[in-house]
């Protein structure tokens, strides 16, 4: 089998609705297979009570973005219990300024905005355990 034949075969395969194809001629063998559209069937249904939902559960509207947690920790909206929250719906947070604090192993990790943004919604609950990827804020670039 020559390259142009293989190429043609791949085009045929790609255009068609086949999921998989294998070809062998003498020593020659070809195996084609399409990416499965079958998404992981189930969602982790086992997140404990206080653990916030992982990212895929929240979809941002067009033009809006979801800020997710980069670590596992406890989500705090304010630097101290009696301090005002860093961000509320309507707040505009400049790039490099804190959105919230994520506490893990007694260390307070400040999560800073990566770009200037307006906070539309605070998704995570104050004091909740957040996982990697847990949605924290819905924001819009400003």
């Amino acid at each position: 089998m020559e390259l142009k034949d293989i190429e043609a075969l791949i085009r045929i395969f790609e255009k068609g609705s086949l999921a998989e194809m294998r070809l062998r001629e003498g020593d020659f063998a070809l195996s084609l297979k399409k990416t499965s559209s079958r998404a992981p069937e189930r969602q982790a249904e086992t997140i404990a009570g206080t653990v916030a939902e992982p990212a895929p559960a929240v979809k941002a509207e067009a033009g809006e973005e979801i800020v997710t947690s980069p670590i596992v920790g406890t989500f705090y909206r304010a630097p101290a219990p009696d301090a005002p929250p860093f961000a509320q719906p309507g707040s505009v947070i400049r790039a490099g300024k804190p959105l919230c604090v994520l506490e893990a192993m007694k260390s307070m990790n400040q999560l800073d905005a990566e770009f200037d943004c307006e906070v539309l919604r605070v998704i995570a609950e104050n004091g909740a355990l957040v996982q990697f990827g847990t949605p924290l804020f819905e924001v819009r670039r400003v």
Partner: protein, 439 residues
């Protein structure tokens, strides 16, 4: 007893640990990467926490996120499983410093056993036979003299190494002098430590290990041996017990030596002492300071749930009923089923019936991500003897149906059918002889 356990692992070993947690009434919390969000252990566990993106360095090796997950989900203990952080003394230390129980030996024990030169020295001090070797580190200037005493061929090993990484064989002085600097550079790159040492290299030995349980106070019980000779590039493929390579006398001596070593180490938990068997003798190789993939082989022969024993020991309950002398019975064998490609398993039916156990995290629709170890199922059989075990394993592997992802199933069947494996007359070169020399 531990009341809530964080499982810092994935795949079939996570499933295995969750099962025992269920039976002991221990709450199970599994951590996982985004790639494993839909996996069976994540669904089975009482709780699951996503700790990072797919790459292991960002998730299953992400110590801060794992410790935070354990603390914040109110676990009182962490089980490292197999691989990843299972033999990482710093991780064990971090777990302990966070006020949690590490299910495994003390960090100092892991440190000592991780240093192959110190481990060898400990064994030597107890008169446990070791492969003739340099005894300590060698470099370009001392290697040749050491090798002359040991006798060629020799193998250059990294003191901090393991799993076959960074090992080089030298059959004469020229090869040795060429290889030592390379081995040192490789050791430095892989383990951040360029210490290397020499051992005599046996061309095709048997690989036999003793499974032990120890309470940390000097009480040690042996669950017998496993023969793990069938390997491909130092990766075990088939394990069986009893080993056909041991006389009754050698088995007793080997078990006694293994028990003495663990007693001396004040070892705590489940662990394995690995030996090479060659030329009618056995030689200490290393200690695996963790539970191993092939532990169910010993479970089948002893009737002891090794994961439950680990959790009991870690809880401070000691050896309990397993403290009595265990006499393993019958024959058991494991074949590891590895995926040869990533993808979605479109059809899966495990084998079953009389004398068959299958530990797996697969099911129809499961994903095999490309990021991790390729082990997707362990097919195990118990039988009255090896002949019966062989036919049962062939039956079980024949029954196993995995569609959508290619596996090594047929290769395993070819090994079972090979005359050298059937006769039991082989060493670690079996795989090469069967599959690589033909090419």
């Amino acid at each position: 007893m531990i009341s809530s356990l964080l499982i810092a692992n994935r795949g079939e070993i996570a499933v295995r640990i969750i099962r025992t947690c269920r039976e002991l009434g221990v709450r199970s919390v599994v951590v996982h990467s985004t790639a494993d969000a839909g996996s069976l252990p994540v669904r089975m566990a009482d709780s699951a926490i996503c700790i990072g993106p797919p790459l292991a360095k960002d998730s299953y090796l992400n110590v801060p996120n794992i410790i935070a997950s354990a603390v914040l989900s109110r676990c009182d203990a962490v089980h490292p499983g197999v691989g990843f952080l299972a033999e990482n003394a710093d991780f064990a230390r971090s777990v302990t410093e966070a006020g949690l129980i590490f299910v495994g030996p003390a960090a100092e024990t892991i440190d000592l056993l991780g240093d192959k030169i110190r481990a060898r020295a400990t064994a030597t001090s107890l008169s446990v036979p070791c492969t003739p070797g340099s005894g300590g580190a060698v470099d370009e200037s001392t290697a040749a003299e050491a090798a002359g005493t040991i006798g060629y061929p020799v193998i250059i090993k990294a003191a901090a190494g393991g799993g076959g990484k960074g090992m080089r064989i030298a059959r004469n002085e020229a090869e040795l002098l060429a290889s030592v600097p390379i081995a040192k550079r490789e050791a430095k790159a892989s383990f951040a430590d360029d210490t290397v040492y020499l051992e005599h290299y046996f061309e095709s030995p048997r690989h036999v290990e003793i499974q032990l349980l120890a309470d940390g106070a000097g009480n040690v019980v042996s669950l017998g041996e496993r023969d793990c000779t069938v390997q491909k590039n130092h990766q075990k493929l088939i394990e069986e017990s009893p080993s056909g390579a041991l006389s009754g006398e050698m088995r007793t001596a080997m078990e006694t030596d293994a028990v003495r070593l663990f007693r001396e180490l004040k070892y705590s938990g489940a662990g394995t002492v690995e030996f090479l068997v060659a030329e009618g003798r056995y030689f200490f190789m290393e200690v695996n300071a963790r539970v191993q993939v092939e532990h169910p082989v010993s479970e089948l022969r002893s009737g002891i749930d090794i994961i439950a024993a680990q959790l009991r020991i870690a809880s401070g309950d000691g050896l309990g009923s397993t403290a009595e002398r265990v006499v393993p019975a019958g024959y058991a064998m494991e074949c590891r089923i590895n995926a040869l490609e990533a993808g979605t398993v479109t059809g899966f039916t495990p084998p079953g019936g009389f004398g068959v156990r299958c530990d797996t995290h697969m099911e129809t629709g499961a994903m095999v991500p490309p990021y991790y170890d390729s082990l997707i199922a362990k097919v195990l059989v118990s039988a009255s003897d090896r002949a019966e075990g062989l036919v049962r394993m062939k039956r079980a592997l024949g029954e196993l149906r995995i569609e959508g992802v290619r596996t090594n199933r047929d290769e395993q069947l070819a090994i079972l059918d090979s005359p050298i494996f059937r006769k039991g007359e082989y060493g670690t070169e079996l795989y090469r002889r069967l599959f690589e020399e033909k090419k």
